[in-house]
Symmetry: C2
Amino acid sequence: MIQFSINRSLFIQALNATKRAISSKNAIPVLSTIKIQVNPSDITLTGSNGQISIENTIPVSNENAGLLISSTGAILLEANFFINIISSLPDVSLDFKEIEQHQVVLTSGKSEITLKGKDVEQYPRLQEVSTDNPLVLETKLLKSIISETAFAASTQESRPILTGVHLTLKDHKDFKAVATDSHRMSQRLLTLDKAATDFDVVIPSRSLREFTSVFTDEIETVEIFFSPSQILFRSEHISFYTRLLEGNYPDTDRLLMNQFETEAVFNTQSLRHAMERAHLISNATQNGTVKLEIAENGITAHVNSPEVGKVNEELETVEKAGSDLTISFNPTYLIEALKALKSETVRIRFVSPVRPFTLTPGDDQEGFVQLITPVRTN
Amino acid sequence: MIQFSINRSLFIQALNATKRAISSKNAIPVLSTIKIQVNPSDITLTGSNGQISIENTIPVSNENAGLLISSTGAILLEANFFINIISSLPDVSLDFKEIEQHQVVLTSGKSEITLKGKDVEQYPRLQEVSTDNPLVLETKLLKSIISETAFAASTQESRPILTGVHLTLKDHKDFKAVATDSHRMSQRLLTLDKAATDFDVVIPSRSLREFTSVFTDEIETVEIFFSPSQILFRSEHISFYTRLLEGNYPDTDRLLMNQFETEAVFNTQSLRHAMERAHLISNATQNGTVKLEIAENGITAHVNSPEVGKVNEELETVEKAGSDLTISFNPTYLIEALKALKSETVRIRFVSPVRPFTLTPGDDQEGFVQLITPVRTN
């Protein structure tokens, strides 16, 4: 039966990272528990909601853990409740001791708390992913790819495949991440330094956002392993599994055009703030759109709500070229697109009032392009 | 028609303070607006939810306001929406200009936003409170009296009078604030430096909490004016009105006893944290109580939930005297009582397992006493 002592704050940190995979309202009750597996030289915490699973290992060799394992074993404990209890204990360290009938006695300072656990045999087996031949990426790069694309995925389950981000590797070098909800699209291209095995997967965007929270910036690189139905992101101590979405991802390449009629470069932040003001009013209008008027003497944005009021914005541009154009769109899409851009300026290219327009970083950094579909108005 | 320009961030600050009185879901639609009254030498913002009303004055003489009034008048604007718009504007300053049909044009930088307002005649007249003969208190003292008592008021409308804090002044000097929800009571006594007119009022505890948010610590003193149905708290630029509760407040003095059988002094924070742990488990029990055992060899706290687990805490004491005693109570009441105490230690005095126990500051600072009723268990 389990017995160990550990530094309480490091334990809380590991528990909280693992908890990100655990939903307290899971339809499968056992998934609201956290699995604690104590081995001779480490402790592994496991949480899962059936979609994503996280395994977090605390090795005896981690000096900050102050981990002293006297006896091994495994047990399940109600995750939220257990973490609240651990967080409330008074002392720097904590003794964890399993007693009869899957009970656990926690001792810290002059507190002694006994909790009822569950038999570990009730916990589902997580699907296995073979850990050969990983794709290795910098954590920072992977997180930046996610923040550039995941927001553009659909949040509606009517076309489940669009709730994911499409990741592909072709010719062992050409990496592409793309997401679209059919109103806007965001795509990041990348050429890998080292050749790797080609893949073509669609990962739920929600899983990718959780990945971003779990893999902190101290973790330098991530190993990625693929199986037909799952993907595993692994660092030294954390394994993050997510199921893949099934189905064919639509061909998004055909949406991108090389020709355009009108082009302007804006300051990213100023344009975003102007659109946020426009959105406050457009929100109250029937079609929720802002109208952009590109003319000889400048670019202006307009919203007119008969109920609430109107906005007129003169937009400053860094550059401007091409023909005059008037185009209407939902400012929310432009706001979110601008949030995903890290460059100080943004280049926007228009084809016509009824064709999607593209956004690229103003510094002409390559590989990142976004697309927004206009709304036809009369 | 109104025309003025103002420093935007100072305006936002004043709007947000006024908004605390405004509920966007008020049954009386006009109360979701903010009233803007522009006089030759100041602007007064008014918000009200029918229970509390706030008037916030920005004088031309306030140098930080950069206030330039060109034309006076009054108008109503949808409070939340207006504040969101003002907050989103680009420039340091803002021009506000009323045009035909109660419309307002806001100009800031290259943004121009037109909003529809309402005729000020629709706004209800706030009841007047005669401003003679104020009671003057330090803001800090008044806020500390509120934080020591308001939490103990009832949140249930079954006995409306108990949702208030009972404030009285007797013999021109003896101030008392008391609140109880019939399970616990908190009372602060005070002797005023200067004699004032006696009063006996019950103020909704919710209003007092709002007062605490509106009157920041920079405001040194508050003038308090009484009318039969309202009370007015006033500083140089803010007037805060709240209605009073009607009815007779119960006599709480008879609950306080001078005799006790058992007495202990604890460290306030340690006892609070022990009770927070106990509460995590007691929460899962049927009667939700913690049992305190005071014996020759020490004081211990126990909770036992057949479903979840149990807690045993050894409580350290600074002092301990009197007979052994076992008493059960809801730890939430003790946690909240300890939160209201600013002293490092707390003195708790018990009469019997079925009689309320009292808490006083351990430093024997006078005038603050709390009382908690135990729960009978078998």
